[in-house]
């Protein structure tokens, strides 16, 4: 009896220990230098050995999971089995906690192959700490379509050291300070969108709306926790990676500055404070956890700021399901950060990086696949009205649409996707044109190496997190809080960051002239 007990204990302990370890084991990454030539043979080989390769694809979504997601996934997998001998598991993650969930998944080594990342989604940090696979060889081997579609833009995703670790989504890269608002309420004020030239004009519209609808907030945040317009101002700047130490004034001069000390930022927060005191801004904007879509639908808001430069009104109208107007202030502008706003990376823990790249390549070349993910199945979820314009099928209630992802901005080559009826059918051509003619930052292609200043960045990020939203919603008095903010940033090492970025930029400019 005693002996059995002792053995039981040992076996039990062993089993527990093994099962605890099993979850964390990492298979050594398989041979990486598979070139195009032996790809065919490899495919048949894997087909025989492993009948099913399932890629986990995580991406950002702003809606609840649509009921027909499984149906679309099945249809997609039918095609993918034939094309790349693999299937995908689509994993939408809500934008509200996307970054948190993604950080944890990458740190835990959860099952994950492809993920959406980007400038504001910790791309550089993920790439520098090796959470993302370097893609150069994979793109050479399996991503010819990506190369053709993106061209020079692919280099914008380079990290210090010269590797590309994510593939930017090909889309409209120009950004501009834009205010989108409800057309019906704008009409009530008797002002037309064309008359609005400056922020002062916009203020008059707010006054008109507030007068007619005292309970409504004319300005609401675009997304939870981001302030009224992220870090935005009417004069845009090159964030140089993380918005700590920037090139102000459309990145036209090579002098790095602390954004929060610039006159543009000061003017912006004082204006917001003014709006807030007049009741133009949602009173609990700083702690609000609803999206602009929800607030507008609930009749609590009139409009919001966004960075979309082309077709903002149409996009908003399609998303919110009501007529919208848009006004743009200042110049459209492109920086490296804009190109990598949304990009696709392959997680370090991926067991099938080659397959993941093949799938990614399809997203840049195959309009059928892109539109299947974007809009669902033709005839079921949408009908084609003309070559590239689609509409709802007969009798479908748009509000109860079973596949209402609205994610055409996220998957690969956006210019391949159809355009919903009501949107300008020429929007993609206009976007391409705008990409060409927008003001470009002179630091385009420069990415600072933040390793020598990582401690300063950590301290400064914590301070910024404390003040940015609260100042960016007008909820507190800038007279008191702005100097406090700037001082705390300095204490935390902002000057060191600015100096280091300046030195790196000067070196880069010298090498690239």
């Amino acid at each position: 009896m005693k002996r059995i007990g002792r053995w039981m204990g040992v076996v039990l302990a062993g089993a527990l220990f093994l099962s605890a370890c099993a979850g964390k084991q990492q298979p050594s990454s398989q041979a990486e230098e598979k070139t195009g030539e032996n790809r065919e043979s490899l495919q048949t080989e894997t087909e025989l050995q492993e009948p099913e390769i399932k890629l986990t694809v995580a991406f950002l979504s702003w809606t609840a999971d649509p009921p027909d997601l499984g149906m679309v996934e099945d249809a997609l997998n039918e095609i993918l089995k034939e094309r790349i001998h693999a299937t995908v598991d689509l994993m939408p993650i809500n934008g509200g906690d996307y970054q948190q969930r993604m950080n944890l998944m990458l740190q835990n080594g959860d099952e994950l192959d492809l993920l959406v990342t980007g400038t504001g989604l910790n791309y550089y940090m993920q790439a520098m700490t090796g959470q993302l696979k370097p893609l150069d060889d994979l793109i050479d081997g399996y991503g010819s379509g990506i190369k053709d579609a993106l061209g020079e833009y692919l280099n914008a995703a380079m990290i210090p050291g010269g590797s590309v670790c994510a593939v930017p989504v090909l889309q409209s890269y120009a950004s501009a300070t834009t205010f989108v608002m409800r057309q019906d309420l704008l009409d009530e004020t008797g002002i037309s969108a064309d008359e609005i030239q400056t922020l002062d004009d916009l203020e008059k519209v707010f006054a008109g709306v507030k007068e007619k609808h005292p309970d409504m907030a004319p300005v609401v945040p675009e997304s939870p926790g981001g302030g009224i317009f992220g870090l935005g101002l009417d004069v845009l700047y090159d964030p140089l990676g993380n918005s700590l130490g920037v090139l102000p004034g459309y990145g036209q001069t090579a002098t790095v500055a602390d954004l929060f000390e610039t006159p543009e930022y000061e003017a912006w927060v004082y204006r917001l404070r003014d709006w807030y005191l007049n009741g133009y801004i949602l009173a609990d904007a700083a702690t609000n956890n609803e999206t602009a879509a929800d607030l507008l639908a609930a009749g609590r808001g009139f409009g919001h700021f966004t960075g979309v430069a082309v077709g903002a009104a149409d996009t908003a109208a399609a998303t919110y399901g009501m007529p919208m107007a848009a006004v743009t202030f200042g110049e459209p502008f492109v920086s490296a950060g804009n190109v990598t706003t949304i990009a696709w990376g392959i997680a370090a823990q991926s067991k099938h990086p080659e397959k993941a790249m093949e799938f990614l390549n399809l997203l840049y070349t195959d309009a059928g696949i892109v539109n299947l993910i974007d809009y669902g199945i033709e005839g079921v979820h949408y009908v084609k009205l003309s070559d590239n314009v689609i509409g709802y099928p007969e009798g479908m209630d748009p509000a109860a649409h079973p596949y209402n992802f609205n994610l055409s901005w996220e998957f690969g080559n956006v210019f391949l996707s159809y355009v919903p009826a009501g949107t300008d059918p020429e929007i993609w051509n206009k976007s391409k044109e705008m990409n060409e003619k927008a003001l470009k930052s002179l630091a385009m292609g420069f990415v600072p190496d933040v390793t020598p200043i990582s401690n300063e960045i950590a301290s400064v990020t914590n301070v910024a997190g404390q003040y940015m939203t609260i100042l960016g919603t007008g909820a507190v008095d800038p007279d008191e809080y702005l100097p406090q903010f700037i001082q705390k940033l300095k204490d935390a090492g902002m000057d060191v960051i600015v100096a280091e970025k300046q030195a790196q930029l000067d070196r880069w400019l010298k090498e690239n002239q």
Partner: protein, 305 residues
């Protein structure tokens, strides 16, 4: 030999508990090395930790570069001290009052009512608080303050109110459980003491000071020692969820736990958050040893070890 045999079943019964302790409390301690390393994930998680280069105290630098470390330490300890004092006094008070409720139904009802908040998740509590404090539609700003003729308050951007709000919420949520423990102790006191005292003319207050409190003193001391041991830990939900993670309140709502979490989420740097966690563990250890030493000086019987 006989002795050994007698202990086998007991040891076997202890094994699962020990195993749990080993896996849950001792294995993760290896993770402490993360605080002193720079991790590269491309090798995989475990190999990344194992092979990552040692960086000494580099990961700690950001913590002490600003006043953050001082601030979160102060908040954690001061809030816990206030919580301990307020909760203990209120819980004992409640217990003494509940003891004298003679009607069985009302007594049971009151006990359930004070205990109930203990079972509510902090996320739900945070929304209950929001229902009171919401700037636009909250109960306080919409109903109470207008009744008193006062203007509305921006609760979530005014740090001054939060020490009181947090103490109140914590009291509401946790006093019930402690109250039950004290009530059990109070009910265990022989009623003859009270009868004798009232015959001698002692009023309620005299009875409380000379019978009830001395009788439950051991329970009070034990509860205090247990709380002091946890003084370096904070209720994450209370400090993170209830203030809705509002940036401007960090100075009064930030504790070590929320700081570690925010660092991990915002910086995506395991090394730095591990450093903050290490600091918490180390300071906590020093404090537990210190308080135990103090208690041993004052009253040798009550010390934990």
């Amino acid at each position: 030999m006989r002795h050994k045999k007698r202990y086998v079943p007991l040891l076997l019964m202890m094994a699962p508990g020990l195993l749990y302790l080993l896996i849950n409390n001792y294995l993760p301690m290896f993770g402490l090395v993360i605080a002193f390393k720079k991790i590269n994930y491309s090798e995989g998680i475990l190999a990344g930790i194992w092979k990552g280069p040692w960086v000494g105290f580099d990961n700690f630098r950001y913590l002490f570069r600003t006043k953050d470390a001082l601030l979160i330490t102060r908040n954690t300890i001061c809030y816990n001290l206030v919580f301990i004092a307020v909760n203990t006094v209120c819980a004992i008070g409640l217990a003494v009052l509940l003891k004298d409720v003679k009607n069985r139904f009302i007594s049971r009802f009151c006990q359930s009512a004070v205990l109930f908040p203990n079972f509510i998740s902090m996320v739900i509590v945070s929304y209950l608080v929001l229902a009171f404090l919401n700037t636009e539609s909250g109960f306080l700003n919409k109903t109470i303050l207008p009744l008193l003729g006062k203007p509305g308050v921006q609760w979530y951007s005014t740090p001054g109110y939060w020490p009181f709000i947090l103490v109140l919420v914590n009291l509401w949520k946790n006093a019930g459980m402690q109250c039950m423990i004290y009530l059990a102790a109070v009910l265990g006191i022989d009623p003859q003491f009270y009868e004798a005292a009232s015959l001698d003319g002692a009023g309620r207050f005299k009875q409380l000071c000379h019978i009830t409190l001395p009788a439950i003193k051991p329970v009070i001391v034990m509860m205090l020692v247990l709380s002091v041991g946890k003084i370096f830990y904070s209720d994450f939900g209370l400090f993170y969820q209830v203030p809705l993670d509002s940036g401007i309140l960090y100075d009064v709502t930030g504790t070590i736990d929320t700081y570690v979490f925010r660092s991990l989420i915002r910086l995506n740097d395991v090394g730095m958050s591990a450093a903050a966690g290490f600091y918490q563990s180390f300071a906590g250890l020093v404090l537990v040893l210190g308080s135990n030493l103090l208690i041993r000086r004052l009253d040798k019987e009550s010390a934990l070890f």
